[in-house]
Subunit: 539 residues, 2 copies
Amino acid sequence: MNELIDHRLRRSWTAEAADAAQLPARAAKWLEQRIGQMAPSAAPSAELTVKIPSSNLAESAVEALSEVVESANVLVDDAARLARATGLSYLDLLRRRSADAGFPVPDAVVLPADPDEVQAVLDACVKHDVGVVPFGGGTSVVGGVAALSGEKTSVIALDLVRLDALVSVDTESRIAVLQAGVRGPEAERLLGERGLTLGHIPQSFERATIGGFAATRSAGQASSGYGRFEDMVTGVRLATPRGEWKLGVAPASAAGPDLRQLAVGSEGALGVITEVSLRVRPAPPVKRYEGYALSGWEAGAAAVRDLAQNHVLADVTRLSDVDETEVSLALNAGLKTTALRKYLAARGVRRPCFLIVGWEGTAHDVAVRRRETTRRLKALGAVRVGKALGESWRHGRFGGPRQRDMLMDRGVCVETLETATYWSTVDELRDDVRAALTASLGRAIVMCHISHAYETGASLYFTVLTARDEADPVGQWQRAKAAASEAISGLGTISHHHAVGVDHAPYLSAEIGKLGVEVLRAAKSAVDPTGILNPGKLV
Amino acid sequence: MNELIDHRLRRSWTAEAADAAQLPARAAKWLEQRIGQMAPSAAPSAELTVKIPSSNLAESAVEALSEVVESANVLVDDAARLARATGLSYLDLLRRRSADAGFPVPDAVVLPADPDEVQAVLDACVKHDVGVVPFGGGTSVVGGVAALSGEKTSVIALDLVRLDALVSVDTESRIAVLQAGVRGPEAERLLGERGLTLGHIPQSFERATIGGFAATRSAGQASSGYGRFEDMVTGVRLATPRGEWKLGVAPASAAGPDLRQLAVGSEGALGVITEVSLRVRPAPPVKRYEGYALSGWEAGAAAVRDLAQNHVLADVTRLSDVDETEVSLALNAGLKTTALRKYLAARGVRRPCFLIVGWEGTAHDVAVRRRETTRRLKALGAVRVGKALGESWRHGRFGGPRQRDMLMDRGVCVETLETATYWSTVDELRDDVRAALTASLGRAIVMCHISHAYETGASLYFTVLTARDEADPVGQWQRAKAAASEAISGLGTISHHHAVGVDHAPYLSAEIGKLGVEVLRAAKSAVDPTGILNPGKLV
């Protein structure tokens, strides 16, 4: 575990340094032309010593927790606490590059072995009035794992890494029960041994956990085919300060409001998710990914809307706008970009927007569905780019965070944000967010893509690159994020799949109403009367 | 309106008496062989005078409500009050056949014109401490509109019939906003003028309302294609004692729990739904329904499971068990049943289970999807019965309630109940419910069908026919219903699409946990601190 912790301090991702994306000289030059001169800063070294405040956890609480999980699983050393102090937002990474911890650090890390121990840990925390931050993969980009203590004098990070089991599989009902701490790849490995897959592949896949997916209403890159994570959840088991809570007895129900949908997205504020029952599918023997190009954003978005409203979305359907397509052409040395541009221009695509489409299933299923999708795509003016683009995206799709580390080393301010809205508002929302970011940041590349489409609307995912303001890097992004959030609020949701955490909490009331916030607070009071659960998050 | 009220007193359905199903002599004889001698009772006459208690609503409250909606829309006469006193369960209908109202009656009926007036009515009811039962189509079969006053001294029926407008249509996003009082046929007419459809066709379609569909998590007969009602809801507008509450800014969101799914299914206990934003679709130019037969329940259920898990369910997919198939053959004089039995037996189907499959869409879409469904059905041993069976079901599908009136006139105890569970439990749950009903009722026909299938499970819908116990007709059904509910509780949901109301409230805690009930109560307290909303329902 120490190796992992060191690694987390140094880089935001677990992959080997050798795998890290490299920025070709040509791409770096191109980037500087677009966003101006950058001031490279060395990557934080593995030996970086970060000063953190000493643990404030009362000795009696340490003893009580040690009784529950054995003392080896109550960690109070600096490295363990620091490793669970932040998520992976740009601001988190910025702060982690400093020698002074400008962020709260949990007073201890507690590692329960199973749902019963999680419950016992909560009981002890209630008794000793200790705040509890549930910790899964630590991939939150909205401050969801920030070690805020609220009104408590101490707070623990409740790391669920030991809840790593596949509990049961019901092959007839196609339901698997997984413990909350199982990470994406391990979930696929455990299910794959039984010929099954979950099909939930968000960019955080390599590190994020089943519990985290559920707590944040995650959406994977193949959500058009496999559904959002909440669509997969058939049941949830939570530990709460008032005892265990189990939900989910049928695929659908009219027995009052669907409380599963209250547990899913509760971000650790209504309970600690310990197990999740999930709809699974046979592992697909065939995966086919390919690329198309459409001319301009409007044509691209119209095509995705057409596919969604005619129920022929590919399992993966992802449309990049002109800027994102330009950047991927500029940064990707693998594609013969000049020839490709000429090829597309000859077919009327002068401002290309790349569309990645991917199908997974049996050969028959993929063939039938691909035929229907491509039939419509051709009618909509899409030009086939070929398998290489699809496969290139598929193999590079977890590379974002690594690329981000590398860009940060070179002095780039790089971050993403996302929203969703109804189709008739998609263009306005995209324009407004781009304008807000550009107005705040000055010279910046603002890219956008649709990665999740619905009959009634779509997500918009923005990636921003600008030269880091070395005088005030934190303020630079905070202002830009606030401007973007203001632009989003009222036109779309403040988050389509990143959750609320700390960063989006100020905008929740505008979205669900003051009554909505009061209902969430009332629900929280019912299950967590003393407010130990994830203080300062969600509500 | 008086005509409607009289009609409701006489028959449970609004259709003309001439349309009412007739029981052929041959069918009556067959029925008597199965369930024994019955004691026919005359249908209640239109002149039936039911004694009801006088209104208990304070004069000051009447005045305050009259100020909001004008006095013509505050009805305190017996007929108006009686017409909103019950729903359409078998027990409701039994009670309505008596001259003494053995059920609570609202103290007044209030008819607001729009969402603002609904809000003002609630404000007045808070001030005067009057209970409020929201009333849509009055089709609840679980006591959802029972005029319980709880701790209040008076209760009004808030009839939403005047909220009958199509508020707006966003064709690009395929969203229509409908007011809560719009009935099924009117919703389809309003949308049909714009070339659109909602596609929500439950058996209550002819009378039930948009608000009622949302409040009860309704599921239509084409839910496999169009989704359950909650799947169609993109936004909800509610009036609550704490003011208006609007939800829904995007097709999907990670901004905390999905509170739309708390509003949907709230059964008038968390607010009065005044408007619903709904995903709509183009009206399908082609509708194709046909029938198949499978040999025995196990083969039939396995076929439906196969279709669901391979994503080739028809829009309507409905499997009858052997008993339901027998009854439909016996009661339906239109089908040449002897020839059909021979035809099926020659193809190995000796214990036929009818499967109705129906597709709606463009000709191309229907052709493509039908090919995939029927390809699998044939591989699974299904024998095609033809279009006649499908069309016969489609044209008779709203006939159930009329048939029920007619059977009740002949001395039959006839009721339905429903549940849903995961596939691996479907057979056990069906067996247990059948056994419980038969043990309680003695000689009875217990039929079952699957009308809503999911990847992970299915609904089970039971129809019960037995000779009415004239000495204790209410107790006869109450005991049977309790036995069935006990059998359901723990194996499946207490309701797949009928909701909780009064009848299922005792079983809610077993399904969502004591904590779940407490969370609902806390949410209710947040929006309805004095408890005026639908007292005694849901929680």
